[in-house]
Symmetry: C2
């Protein structure tokens, strides 16, 4: 399935979350990732995030769509994921 | 249509963008909004954002879906939009 994942984490946990998500999805902006992922892999990502997230302060929101083509994406301004292909 | 809007703006422009988006969509996290909106209203929002955004630094990404039910939403941790009903 195709997902969009956005997180809001305390400063101390941001870089850990960024690194974790990079292993599963494509970074598209600040704290926003997207990509194809299986239910199993998504559960794994979330379990690992829960190990360090502060559930009273932090949040992760996931939008799931069975098909990517059901979502149209429009970007205004800078596309920030250019680096992603090199890292 | 149903949209998810995420923005990444320089500190000086964040509060302006937050206020602008609040007039059109529902705030769900940090710099993330969602909601039903018409094409015309979305264009209006973006035109107004372009007046103050720095297109070399800032970015706005919009995911559009014809139907909200095509997207399933999962939230882990804090739901931050509780206040939204009061503001």
């Amino acid at each position: 399935m195709y997902v969009i994942l956005v997180y809001d984490m305390g400063k101390k946990r941001v870089s850990k979350m960024l690194k974790l998500c990079r292993g599963y999805l494509n970074w598209i902006q600040n704290s926003v990732f997207e990509g194809e992922i299986t239910e199993v892999k998504l559960k794994e990502l979330l379990s690992r995030a829960k190990l360090f997230m502060n559930t009273e302060q932090d949040s992760i929101i996931i939008f799931k769509s069975r098909e990517e083509r059901w979502l149209e994406k429009e970007i205004i301004g800078q596309e920030k994921n250019d680096l992603d292909t090199f890292l």
